[in-house]
């Protein structure tokens, strides 16, 4: 993907609401497409969670299982939406009808489209490429390859790019709305929703660190995995949400919506798994793996919510009227993340270790929880990574706030 950055867009004073861009209202179809993308990406998120529960409880008897159908139809619809929008914007660019270097990017020397559609479309392509490879990997290595398998990670990277594209698209639409003198609240709310989906995705990505891989071995030292991963993956998105949205409680809002979504989905999906498995005539892999709501399932989003509240509070307590430096913000959040994530990790690992012998399918076992030393060693790693992560998030927030493309 070759994208040419043209001078003159981000960071410059927004152009006045004149010219073909304002006259023709060219942003209306991207807005509709942007909402459609958010809907399809939400659908993919539901499909992903359903798929994980389906895997655990029922297994995987074919590629197009019901959760895969939900997940991949969302990917296909997102991809088609992006393709249509890229072609539409390119045609408008060639006709000189409002699409120019100030509000879109030239891609591969052929196309002109808003950055968000390009990134989301590329993400969908990556997921589509990962799907058959994932199926192949399962054929070779079985059902219980963890989420951290090569082609699962490939698909998750694609999903991450796709949702990141949505965040770019909506933040650019917010900039355009501001330039046109309109209230950008709807665009900002949509940006917040995209960022919520992103936080959900990275929290999901860290999930195997809770129980399956409780420690990382660094030579003779063992370090607890989960706090380190969350410290690297979460703060940058929460800090970016603050920067992009400009709301005092932006991080809390994003994390709160994630928490509500997590609770609702974790309460409803077990019933869906039970009824669809019964309709398909598929037995559960083990009675101990029958789907039910467990408090541990929402522990990660509770952790993120508490950390987001703290982040907003620390950021609000400005020292001498000056904005807190992101590295300080990140380090203080890293400390809290370490504590909460370590607690969540220990609770989940202890609950999993209590499963009766023979409750799990043959070949699966639960490693013991991290030792006290491993938890302690995770502290400096978590603080350092959270500080770096918050610095990255500060930059992303700035881009999302200013980039009109």
């Amino acid at each position: 993907m070759a994208v040419e950055a043209r001078p003159g867009a981000p960071g410059r004073k927004p152009a006045p609401p004149t010219g073909p861009d304002a006259r023709l209202g060219w942003w209306r179809p991207p807005r509709v497409a942007g909402w459609a993308l958010l809907l399809f990406q939400f659908q993919q998120g539901v499909g992903l969670l359903w798929d994980e529960r389906w895997h655990q409880a029922v297994g995987r008897d074919r590629f197009l299982t019901p959760p895969h159908l939900l997940l991949y139809s969302g990917v296909a619809l997102s991809g088609i939406t992006c393709l249509v929008m890229v072609i539409w914007a390119t045609l408008r660019h060639h006709r000189g009808a409002g699409v120019d270097d100030g509000n879109s990017l030239r891609v591969l020397g052929l196309f002109h489209a808003p950055l968000g559609f390009v990134v989301t479309g590329f993400g969908c392509l990556v997921i589509a490429a990962a799907a058959p490879l994932d199926d192949y990997w399962h054929q070779l290595y079985g059902l219980d390859v963890a989420l951290w398998a090569p082609f699962h990670l490939m698909a998750l990277t694609g999903g991450f790019l796709a949702v990141l594209g949505s965040a770019y698209l909506w933040s650019a639409l917010a900039v355009r709305a501001r330039q046109a003198g309109r209230d950008p609240r709807a665009e900002r709310a949509s940006t917040a929703f995209a960022l919520m989906l992103l936080v959900g995705l990275v929290v999901n990505l860290a999930q195997p660190g809770l129980v399956l891989y409780p420690t990382i071995e660094l030579g003779p030292l063992s370090v607890m995995t989960y706090p380190v991963l969350l410290a690297a993956l979460v703060p940058w998105l929460l800090v970016a949400a603050r920067g992009a949205l400009g709301w005092r409680r932006a991080a809390t809002l994003v994390a709160l919506v994630l928490f509500v979504q997590d609770v609702v989905l974790n309460l409803t999906i077990p019933a869906v798994v039970r009824s669809v498995a019964a309709a398909e005539g598929l037995p559960f892999r083990s009675p101990a793996l029958a789907p039910t709501f467990r408090f541990q399932q929402v522990l990660p989003s509770v952790t993120v919510l508490l950390v987001a509240v703290l982040l907003d509070l620390v950021a609000a307590s400005e020292a001498g009227g000056r904005r807190r430096r992101p590295v300080v913000l990140g380090a203080s959040v890293g400390l809290a993340l370490w504590l909460l994530a370590a607690l969540a990790g220990q609770v989940s690992a202890t609950a999993a270790a209590r499963l009766a012998p023979g409750a799990l399918p043959p070949g699966l076992f639960v490693p013991p929880p991290a030792t006290a030393l491993a938890v302690l060693l995770a502290l400096p790693c978590a603080v350092a990574l959270a500080a770096a992560s918050a610095t990255v998030g500060d930059g992303l927030g700035q881009i999302l706030r200013e980039n009109p493309r």
């Binding site: 008897d61 074919r62 990962a130 490879l133 199926d135 054929q139 059902l143 490939m154 990277t157």
Partner: protein, 187 residues
């Protein structure tokens, strides 16, 4: 008569192509001789491929006899269960359809998703009641790529992420320069 270098190269190429194509075509096509099973009063003759492979349709045909005669109007269901050591889950049940060309014969196609040992559970419901029998099956895997290659391919999109992060960084820098020059002008 001796072949020239071009002819020899062509022969080698043809041999290589054949070697590549033949093993791929072989699995899943040979049909085993009937596997005989008894399910209560029913005599079953089960046809399954001799060397089935994952991800391909696995044709299954069952001839059901009751008291030495082909049984028509029965319901024959087949379901795959992973054998010991196979990391997989049960496949949803498939109801076989009667073969119009052969009375008492029922057929259908399963897809086995993961390689290893499997048990086909056959359920016959008809005039002799509901009875079942099992047929073991060994399902082959596709050609394996090395683990490291899987990881290289799987993580390759991270290059795009890294490039995008770098591109964003240049955007931020330009923005910083823009602000600096704007401040200079204002002063």
């Amino acid at each position: 008569m001796s072949a020239g270098p071009t002819g020899r190269r062509g022969a080698v190429l043809a041999a290589v192509l054949l070697a590549l194509v033949l093993p791929a075509a072989r699995p899943g096509q040979a049909v085993a001789a009937d596997v005989e099973r008894r399910a209560g009063p029913y005599q079953l003759a089960v046809d399954v491929p001799a060397a089935p492979r994952t991800g391909r349709a696995l044709p299954v045909a069952v001839r059901v006899d009751l008291d030495g005669r082909p049984l028509e109007g029965a319901t024959v269901t087949v379901q795959g269960f992973p054998g010991l050591g196979t990391s997989a889950s049960a496949i949803r049940p498939l109801v076989l359809t009667p073969d119009p060309a052969a009375p008492g014969r029922y057929r259908g196609a399963l897809t086995i998703p993961i390689h290893g040992g499997w048990l086909l559970d056959l359920q016959v419901s008809g005039a002799g009641g509901l009875h079942r029998a099992e047929v073991p099956l060994l399902v082959g895997a596709p050609a394996a790529i090395p683990h490291w290659l899987g990881w290289v391919i799987g993580l390759s999109p991270l290059l795009a992420v890294a490039w995008f992060a770098w591109w964003n960084r240049t955007l931020l820098r330009r923005e910083g320069d823009g602000e600096g020059s704007a401040a200079g002008t204002a002063r």
